[in-house]
């Protein structure tokens, strides 16, 4: 058996009383490719943050458990220290300076230097850069990866595939590298590029570097990894050598959880899935950084709750943002028979769409304004509601404070918003109550379709259920069509009628909420190749 490089034992981590890691163990040997698999929020990034000693860990009370690196107990307190130990990371988003050449990027802040006249007086910082060594070292690292590219080219304008390799070259150029972490390295690559990358990773492992590989692509995991650890809800739920793993098995381990149907009895109500199509999306493309939609077609039926799921970065968040017009988009979207003009939030809102943003505090609320104004502001802008008409001076309409107050008081009562009164500042409310204010604001528009993005993000568990129940009530009692985007599959499965899974910016398939975990896991990992399941 090869030498153990990294041994993390019984790692516990809490964020404000919320346990995100529960007794996680992981062991990586020399020359081993160890895959770490799990849904969003399963605790993978937190585990890596612990390994790298990120400030976010120390600022929130540290962690429990032991990290043993090369047989010695270490207490990594900063990313710099991790680097010194020989732990490297290839980031998911590129940490490259576009204006620098490939060589300068590989050697960033590790430039070899030599003394000159001035540096002898003024010290280290004034040493000249040793361009020759920089070039030859970079060349060596690139050759090791089998990349045939001029190291003097600027990074700006290179294909994404190359950028990933430059990041890796930077890590292997560090002479003492012993453990290399890849954080979803293939997420942005085309298939050919991904294959090439996997080959390079294998070669690295053969040269004795231990590799920790984080990914969502299950087929990749099986083809490349030696051992696989599956995380779910902060716990290790599976640990198996890759020979024993199948995509189905991994998918089930990854997703599997008890699904609570909220108010099951109401589900018996005749759903009008066969009803009219209220929204038709054709070939929608949205340019939202990190969540691009690349040609999505989807129909929504009147009166349903449609869930949109999928892994982070595949574009599910982009859909609602694109249709509402917050990010530039192309394609055709029809509300009944009317075409919705894209790239214009005002038009979209006035046609009867409403949107609860995933960025509640940034886009969703005016934090330093009162509850009542927050509730009224969109309707006021878009539909000229809550205004007192002035004779003649129509452009100088005044706020109808009385109507706003009445509406706010009704909403506070109906949605059970815990506050000191309608004039309290929204900033002072808890996450759940802020979300309710957002919902009230959407209700003021009396929308035909309500888009909801990540409605329970950053809300504690009790409030989560209330928000979900509220959405369900709006749908069942007021007949509002709701399109809900969420990273939490369990949440989607608890209230949605149908769930669309997005993979790489396109619709992968649509599942009923009671479909098996295997189907969900496979679909999220792109295993269905567009097959319709129902």
């Amino acid at each position: 058996m090869a030498r153990v490089i990294l041994d993390m034992k019984n790692i516990d981590k809490e964020y404000f009383g919320n346990k995100v890691l529960k007794g996680v163990d992981i062991t990586v040997h020399e020359g081993e490719i160890h895959a770490l698999v799990g849904e969003n929020g399963a605790g993978k990034s937190t585990l890596m943050n612990v390994l790298f000693g990120m400030p976010v860990i120390h600022n929130t009370g540290g962690f429990k458990g032991e990290v043993i690196f090369e047989g010695e107990k270490v207490n990594v307190s900063s990313p710099n220290q991790a680097m010194e130990l020989g732990i490297g990371m290839v980031h998911q988003e590129f940490m490259l300076l576009p204006g620098f050449s490939i060589m300068e990027n590989i050697k960033l802040n590790r430039e070899p230097t030599y003394h000159n006249l001035i540096s002898r007086i003024f010290g280290e910082k004034m040493k000249s850069l040793d361009i020759k060594t920089m070039r030859s070292d970079s060349r060596k690292a690139l050759d090791k990866l089998g990349i045939d590219i001029d190291e003097m080219l600027p990074v700006a304008g290179l294909p994404v595939g190359y950028m990933q390799f430059i990041e890796i070259a930077r890590e292997i150029d560090k002479t003492n590298i012993k453990l290399l972490v890849f954080d979803e390295p293939t997420a942005v690559l085309s298939e050919i590029e991904a294959e090439r990358l996997l080959k390079a990773i294998k070669e690295l492992a053969d040269s004795g570097i231990a590799i920790l590989f984080i990914t969502h692509r299950l087929d990749e995991v099986i083809s490349i990894a030696d051992n696989i650890t599956v995380l779910r809800d902060g716990e290790v739920v599976g640990r198996l050598p890759s020979e024993e793993a199948t995509v189905e098995k991994l998918a089930q381990l990854m997703v599997g959880r008890k699904v609570d149907r909220v108010k099951k009895e109401e589900k018996n109500i005749q759903r009008n899935n066969n009803g009219d199509k209220i929204l038709r999306i054709k070939n929608l493309k949205v340019d939202m950084p990190g969540e691009e939609v690349k040609g999505l077609s989807l129909d929504v039926y009147e009166g349903e709750i449609l869930g949109i799921g999928g892994l982070a970065g595949h574009g599910k968040i982009g859909i609602a943002n694109g249709i509402i017009g917050l990010y530039s988009s192309q394609g055709e979207v029809y509300l009944k028979d009317k075409k919705i003009p894209l790239n214009s939030p005002k038009e979209a809102l006035s046609m009867g769409l409403a949107f609860l943003s995933e960025d509640r505090r940034g886009v969703g609320l005016l934090l330093d304004e009162s509850i009542e104004l927050n509730m009224a502001v969109t309707a006021l802008q878009v539909q000229n509601k809550f205004l007192r008409k002035m004779p003649l001076l129509t452009f100088m309409n005044l706020l109808d404070r009385k109507a706003i107050r009445e509406f706010a008081q009704r909403m506070i009562k109906e949605l059970d918003i815990r506050c000191t009164g309608p004039d309290q500042l929204v900033r002072r409310l808890s996450g759940g109550n802020q979300q309710k204010v957002c919902i009230a604001r959407a209700l003021a528009l009396e929308p035909k379709i309500l888009f909801v993005s990540e409605p329970t993000r950053g809300i504690d568990i009790g409030a989560k259920k209330i928000v979900l129940d509220l959405l369900l009530t709006l749908n069942r009692e007021m007949g509002m069509t709701i399109i809900m985007t969420s990273s939490e599959l369990g949440e989607l499965r608890s209230i949605c009628d149908r769930i669309a899974i997005i993979y790489r910016g396109k619709l992968e398939g649509i599942l009923p909420p009671d479909a098996s975990d295997v189907d969900y896991g496979l679909m999220m990992a792109g295993g269905y190749k567009g097959k319709e399941v129902s």
Binding site: M95, L97, K125, M126, D148
Partner: protein, 372 residues
């Protein structure tokens, strides 16, 4: 993957000629516009070539240093450092000191250069501290800090000197004995630098030594950018976040950039004033920032990119306009007052126009990127 590489190279090698010409024109729009202004101005101004050449050489020698002091903060991603006004103040404080001690000639000048360094370092350090708290708004921060420092400067020269620190010198002090006169004669060090090596030939006067010093500064800057510290400036200028993750101490390095800029500006102001020969106590530093920034921008620099060549070209064009525009205004409209108006108009107009053009260029680039 090799194929991709070859393809991009061949595309770059054979672009359409028309396209590349418009590109060059658009990328150098600002210097080109001002070249046209200069030529047109020369036509109307009707001045002797000798006078023109003499003036421009003198002005290049005395202003280039100040303009070049702006380059490092731009490279470090801190924008145009309007805070060099404080460097100028440091230089002037040193000048007042040596004039009071009556140390003359080159010795006096060099002593002033030495005295100004600790003062400029202090000012630069304080400016850097404030700018680190206002990341992304360095330019306006620098400008306002300049106004604020001007207040302290006046307090020092109008009240503290003579009022708290005893000073007796009838030629320098106001008649009340408290505060410094409005203008101080710098006879002692006038041309102390310029005259070290000066060529007078065929009616031309060339301050060779000062030009050599400017050249040395250029060489030093070139060298400097190839050092470890220079590379750190460039890294931070590209992306603060990535620089930080790579382990560069961003805050400290940014402060260093401002300190270097401020010290260079102090020296630049000394070179400027030894050529002028009089210190306008409360006004000499006033427009240092604006004029230097305008010069750099005319040369084609932007808030994020500046080279030594752009600095020198810009100094040349800006002062060419400065010489020509009053004369052109006078001969066109027959009133020298119009010419004065022209100068101010030119300086501020330039900053406005160039910033506008750069914004337009950036938008255009972004549009092109989208099309790809």
């Amino acid at each position: 993957m090799k194929d991709v590489n070859v393809k991009t190279k061949s595309e770059a090698a054979s672009p359409k000629l028309n396209n590349s010409i418009t590109k060059i024109l658009i990328n150098n729009l600002v210097p080109i516009i001002f070249c046209i202004f200069c030529v047109a101005g020369m036509y109307y101004a009707n001045i002797s070539t000798k006078f023109l050449i003499n003036s421009i050489i003198e002005r290049m020698a005395r202003n280039s240093f100040l303009v070049l002091s702006l380059i490092i903060p731009v490279i470090a991603g801190m924008g145009l450092n309007f805070g060099i006004v404080m460097g100028a103040m440091a230089g002037q404080i040193a000048l007042v000191a040596i004039t009071y001690w009556d140390i003359q000639g080159l010795g006096g000048f060099l002593l002033a250069a030495v005295i100004s360094v600790p003062i400029a370092v202090l000012f630069g350090w304080l400016t850097g501290l404030v700018m680190n708290r206002a990341k992304g708004n360095e330019m306006i921060t620098g400008m306002i800090l300049g106004f604020f420092a001007n207040g302290l400067y006046q307090l020092l020269f109008l009240f503290v000197l003579g009022g708290i620190i005893p000073m007796k010198n009838e030629r320098m002090m106001l008649s009340s004995g408290i505060g410094i006169r409005n203008s101080i004669d710098l006879k002692g060090i006038k041309y102390a630098f310029d005259n070290l090596i000066k060529i007078k030939a065929g009616g031309l006067v060339i301050p060779v030594f000062t030009l050599i010093v400017v050249a040395l500064l250029c060489i030093f800057m070139k060298f400097f950018l190839k050092t470890k510290l220079g590379q750190e400036f460039r890294s931070i200028g590209q992306d603060i976040h990535i620089a930080q993750i790579s382990g560069i101490n961003v805050d400290k390095t940014r402060i260093l950039a401002i300190i270097i800029s401020t010290v260079l500006a102090a020296w630049g102001q000394l070179i400027f004033l030894q050529n002028i020969g009089t210190l306008n106590t409360y006004g000499s530093h006033g427009q240092v920032g604006t004029f230097a920034v305008a010069s750099l921008l005319i040369g084609g620099a932007s808030v994020t990119k500046a080279t030594i060549g752009q600095g020198l070209l810009g100094t040349f064009l800006f002062h060419m306009l400065f010489i020509i525009s009053p004369l052109a205004g006078k001969s066109l409209l027959g009133d020298p007052q119009v010419g004065e108006y022209f100068r101010v108009f030119v300086a501020y107009g330039i900053i406005g126009v160039t910033l506008g053009v750069h914004a337009w260029q950036q938008q255009r680039q972004a549009m092109e990127k989208l099309k790809e």
